[in-house]
């Protein structure tokens, strides 16, 4: 008993006398000054840290002399001896390893290679790796490439959308330097809007979503633009089959500030006049985009970043029809060090997506349709690096949403006779999110991360309909629809969501770890669509009195094991419960419907699956195999005879194989193969003769009762580097690729109808009036050449 005061006293003395100090700073690439995120800082005696997205790190430990090692895969280690007798700022630049085989083998960062540092349900991909994987027309496409990874399923060919663990496409939050990108598609989804040359890093959270992120149910795709070379002026670019691109970057003030400008423009439309089909010949089809970024170091403690994106697509058919759409985002960020342990980033963000359709049917039938969604938000994220065991994150954001659901307007005076200008009422809403989250290292073996996010969504002003629906058809009854009006600026409806998040990780050995996570997410704005493709015209709905916010709960458990032969493997299983999922009622009226929210029905969803991944990231031969088994179901009263049905994007089996072979310093080849179960669709189950025509009888008791044939495809790519000229900065390479090597005719869509006179052109043997299945195929075999350069 007399021992206790002694123990207490000795504990007290340790706390009292073992003075704590902090080492903090930034880690950068020596060649271009680009901050390195995810670099590891290790203290010889134990403990360490990883740099955040701005390259910042902070370690607090007791006074003493330490050997500190800075590591980043593919870079030479830097070791510093630090006498820690006061708080110290140590900025470090790491240089790339001289005898690298090239960027080819760099695919995972130093610490992430260790199983203990892999986050459950999070996947990352380096742009250098993405650039090697062949894609259609040789265009580097970060979104298409991540669909090769487990748990992320491509929404189909000609579609840059993807589905994560049974979530619909609109349940993915795509952030570009913190700004929401509402439509990530170029050319109706054949390409994504992200220029690979402008992107530094990409992280996808499929689960275990930190409390910092919110607003979408299924995933967060966090894309960061490069800062630009702070050491010297540089240019990279390429000339491809479809588009050309150029990126310029350089210091504004050497080592203190830099800029980057990246642009792309497609020119496929140049070749359209060569097409045999007249409609195609007279069409327009192009996109362009621009990424801008600059940063400026105000002081040791303050740094400003400005970044922006602007992109536009134009598609025109003859002179009849034109659609153009695009995103614009702008982010102003201020990094501030409150002290050595407290890092703050505050951002002001603007995001806009809009599209316009112009139809010029006749001189007096020329009109346009415009829609837009526009956000302004402010957010602030704080990190307190408490000690080597604990990091505390907290912050919040406030988003002001404005929706323009549609303006229909005649384009000239003659048309205004036939068509009235109609503006569907614009809507406004305020969304907020507040969070606190702690990363806690209980022991070298056991780590936790837990947090809580509180989100809210309020509808502001304007009017809202309350529908009474026909009990049988679920069609809103126009006579019984009530319109309530609210004062401008009045908050008339508010939802609040509590979103607990937690994950834990336990290292069985240095090479084996088991991890688990739980997260609840809310989503307040959503899209409804009746096709598998991501059309820019798909409308966003905000939560309202009619549309309740979506909620999901997900649990996941995973096993991670590395093998000494250079193999990384992982297996994860997950289960997800979803509420307030939306789908259109049968026979919904979708074209320019002012009361489109009246066509929605809500119900439950659930999804589960298993994901397997094996990768070899180093050596002359590298690659990965990814396999996902997944099932995603919906049950919505009023659809499918109230029976559960397979979601429209469910693909049971997904397999991807990617293999890269480095033959020499100059020659690299990549081959890939993808297989996915066919997409579900609702087929007729019989036909009947009515009104002197064949009519289709669908199975009302089972939506998505059938699957399209499976999707599969192989691609190859070869990259040939120019000869090394030590005296010259100019480097170039040729990339040759073949998409859909064995010319598989994968179905894009299948639909059923009677054969018309106009079908005889392509199907001379068909009988007009008979019923048939029609298939559209997008891409057969497509070879492409791209020339890339940098200096």
């Amino acid at each position: 008993m007399r021992l206790l005061p002694i123990i207490l006293a000795s504990m007290l003395s340790i706390t009292l006398f073992a003075q704590q100090y902090t080492i903090s700073g930034r880690v950068k690439d020596a060649a271009n000054g680009e901050t390195l995120l995810g670099a590891a800082i290790l203290i010889e005696s134990g403990g360490g840290a990883v740099t955040n997205e701005y390259g910042f790190y902070s370690i607090s430990t007791t006074a003493g002399t330490y050997k500190v090692t800075y590591k980043y895969l593919g870079y030479d280690d830097v070791v510093k001896t630090v006498i820690l007798d006061r708080n110290k700022t140590i900025n470090v630049e790491l240089g790339e390893k001289a005898n690298q085989l090239g960027t080819a083998v760099v695919s995972a960062k130093a610490l992430e290679k260790k199983v203990e540092n892999k986050k459950i349900s999070v996947v990352k991909m380096e742009t250098s790796k993405i650039k090697e994987i062949p894609v259609i027309f040789g265009e580097v496409d970060i979104l298409k490439t991540i669909t090769l990874l487990p748990g992320i399923q491509s929404a189909g060919e000609g579609n840059s959308g993807f589905n994560v663990r049974g979530g619909s496409q609109d349940q993915n939050l795509i952030l570009l330097d913190e700004a929401t990108v509402y439509n990530a598609s170029h050319l109706l989804g054949f390409f994504s809007v992200f220029n690979g040359d402008a992107v530094k890093d990409l992280e996808v959270y499929k689960g275990g979503i930190p409390a910092k992120y919110g607003g979408r149910l299924a995933s967060i795709v966090d894309i960061k633009m490069r800062d630009g070379n702070a050491k010297k002026f540089a240019a990279i670019g390429g000339i491809g089959t479809i588009s050309s691109r150029l990126t310029l970057e350089g210091p504004i003030v050497k080592d203190k500030s830099s800029f980057m400008v990246a642009g792309r423009r497609s020119y496929a439309d140049v070749f359209l006049p060569l097409a045999p089909d007249e409609t195609v010949r007279e069409s327009k089809l192009y996109f362009y985009d621009l990424n801008l970024k600059a940063n400026y170091e105000l002081s040791d403690k303050d740094r400003l970043y400005v970044s922006g994106y602007f992109g536009r697509d134009v598609l025109g058919l003859n002179e009849l029809f034109a659609i153009n759409w695009g995103n614009a985002t702008a982010t102003l960020r201020w990094n501030h060090l409150v002290n050595e342990k407290m890092f703050v980033n505050t951002s002001l963000v603007y995001s806009d997506f809009n599209y316009g359709v112009d139809i010029n049917f006749a001189e007096n039938a020329s009109f346009g349709l415009d829609q837009a969604i526009n956000d302004i938000y402010i957010k602030s994220d704080w990190t307190n690096y408490v000690n080597t065991k604990s990091t505390l994150n907290f912050g919040g954001q406030v988003i002001y949403h404005r929706f323009n659901p549609g303006l229909f307007s005649p384009n000239n005076e003659a048309s205004s006779i036939l068509f009235e200008e109609t503006q569907i009422e614009k809507r406004k809403a305020l969304e907020t999110g507040w969070y606190v989250d702690q990363e806690y290292k209980h022991s070298p073996r056991l780590n936790f991360r837990y947090g809580l996010r509180v989100s809210s969504f309020s509808n502001i002003g304007g009017s809202e309909y309350t529908y009474t629906k026909n009990a049988e058809t679920n069609e809103p009854i126009s006579a019984l629809t009530v319109k309530d009006s609210f004062a401008d600026g009045e908050i008339y409806n508010t939802y609040v969501g509590l979103e607990p998040r937690a994950s834990a990780s336990y290292n069985l050995t240095t090479n084996v770890a088991i991890k688990a996570s739980y997260n609840r997410t809310f989503q307040y704005i959503q899209q409804a669509t009746n096709t598998a493709s991501s059309f820019p015209t798909d409308q966003w709905f905000s939560a309202s009195r009619n549309v309740k916010p979506q909620r999901a709960d997900q649990v996941a458990i995973g096993l991670f094991k590395n093998f000494d032969i250079g193999l990384e493997t992982s297996a994860e299983v997950y289960y997800k419960w979803m509420n307030n999922q939306v789908d259109y009622r049968d026979n919904a009226n979708l074209a320019f419907n002012e009361n489109l929210d009246g066509e929605l029905l809500t119900g439950n969803g659930w999804a589960y699956g298993a994901e397997f991944y094996v990768a070899k990231t180093e050596g002359a031969s590298s690659g990965f195999i990814s396999y996902t088994w997944a099932k995603t179901m919906r049950q919505i009263d009023g659809i499918s005879g109230n029976n559960p049905y397979v979601a429209g994007f469910d693909r049971r089996h997904n397999l991807s194989l990617v293999f890269t072979q480095k033959f020499s310093k100059r020659l690299l080849a990549t081959a890939s193969f993808v297989f996915a179960s066919g997409q579900p669709l609702t087929t007729p189950v019989s036909k009947y003769y009515y009104d002197d025509e064949w009519q289709t009888n669908y199975n009302d008791q089972e939506r998505n009762n059938f699957r399209l044939p499976a999707y599969h495809r192989a691609d190859i790519g070869v990259t040939l580097q120019s000869k090394d000229k030590p005296d010259k900065r100019f480097n170039s390479n040729w990339n040759f690729s073949v998409y859909n090597l064995y010319n598989r005719e994968n179905p894009y869509a299948i639909y059923f109808r009677t054969i018309r006179d106009t079908d005889l052109v392509k199907n001379p043997d068909a009988t007009v009036g008979n019923t048939a299945a029609f298939q559209t195929t997008l891409f057969k075999i497509i070879p492409a050449i791209t020339w890339n350069f940098e200096f």
């Binding site: 009235e420 009226n589 009947y688 894009y748 029609f774 298939q775």
Partner: protein, 281 residues
């Protein structure tokens, strides 16, 4: 109008890479198909019965001749229909429906009774059926002869109309109108027929029923005032027929009808008005 244009144009974009494919799809047991419309005007009552068949079947429709069919006026008489030929059941005498009354169809087939009930809507007669010649104009609206009707909708309720125009006994157009859109309103009721060209010059465009008629043509227009359910049945049916794989397609589903036991088709009671016009230039 504008919806159709959007659909049409998107369809063009997609048709470029379309082909007919042979696939095997699930099928279900045959279902009874009922097609019938009875009117306010005295006529034989007719009901057509057939059976649904596999989607890719190349046979003609499978007509049913073994059912018993009768139509009852609620609170009134019952009329029996007899099979005449190819699935067509016809009443012995002519009958006419009364506005506001409801009519029930009964079909006994293979031990099951299929039923439907519908009420006759009111409608005003067509005031005017006329044609006018639109000379070449600066609005690139095709020059030519337009036929249109004018009438007064029933102001006490929402009106749903189907128009069928026949040119020399051949159906030339079917038009659905529920006054959802337009500046001349349903049945051109706000249009001055005495000064058509003046009205057009005043930015009012009549809604034509048919176009491109020539001297000597006989035009017959049938106006049907129908129930809201039949109107949405017909417009949904047309939307499903015109599927083209575009985002404006409705989800694939059967239009809702008024038949019990999952029978396909519709039993419609419609207020019919007919006008005839000979084109004399």
């Amino acid at each position: 109008m504008k919806n159709k244009l959007l659909i049409f144009l998107t369809a063009i974009a997609f048709s470029a890479c379309e082909k007919i494919v042979e696939i095997e799809i699930p099928s279900e047991a045959p279902r009874l198909v009922i097609e019938s419309q009875i009117y306010n005007v005295k006529d034989l009552w007719k009901v057509k019965l057939s059976s649904s068949q596999p989607y890719f079947d190349q046979d003609s429709a499978a007509f049913i001749s073994t059912a018993s069919v009768y139509i009852s006026e609620i609170g009134g008489d019952t009329v029996f229909l007899n099979h005449s030929d190819t699935g067509l059941y016809v009443s012995m005498d002519s009958h006419q429906c009364v506005v506001g009354r409801s009519y029930q169809l009964n079909v006994l087939y293979q031990g099951e009774t299929y039923q439907a009930i519908e009420q006759l809507q009111n409608a005003n007669p067509i005031d005017t059926l006329m044609f006018f010649f639109l000379p070449p104009n600066d609005r690139s609206f095709p020059s030519g002869n337009y036929v249109f009707i004018q009438g007064q909708p029933d102001s006490t309720r929402k009106n749903f109309y189907v128009f069928k125009a026949y040119k020399n006994d051949t159906l030339s157009s079917t038009t659905l109108d529920d006054d959802a859109f337009g500046s001349v309103t349903l049945l051109n009721s706000k249009f001055n027929v005495d000064d058509i060209l003046g009205e057009i010059a005043n930015d009012k465009q009549p809604r034509p029923i048919t176009f491109d008629v020539k001297n000597g043509d006989i035009i017959v227009v049938e106006q049907f005032a129908v129930s809201e359910l039949y109107y949405s049945f017909l417009s949904d049916l047309i939307a499903q027929q015109n599927r083209s794989g575009t985002p404006f397609d409705p989800p694939p589903a059967n239009p809702n009808n008024n038949l019990s036991r999952g029978a396909l088709g519709y039993f419609s009671v419609a207020h019919k008005e007919t006008e005839r016009l000979e084109i004399i230039e």
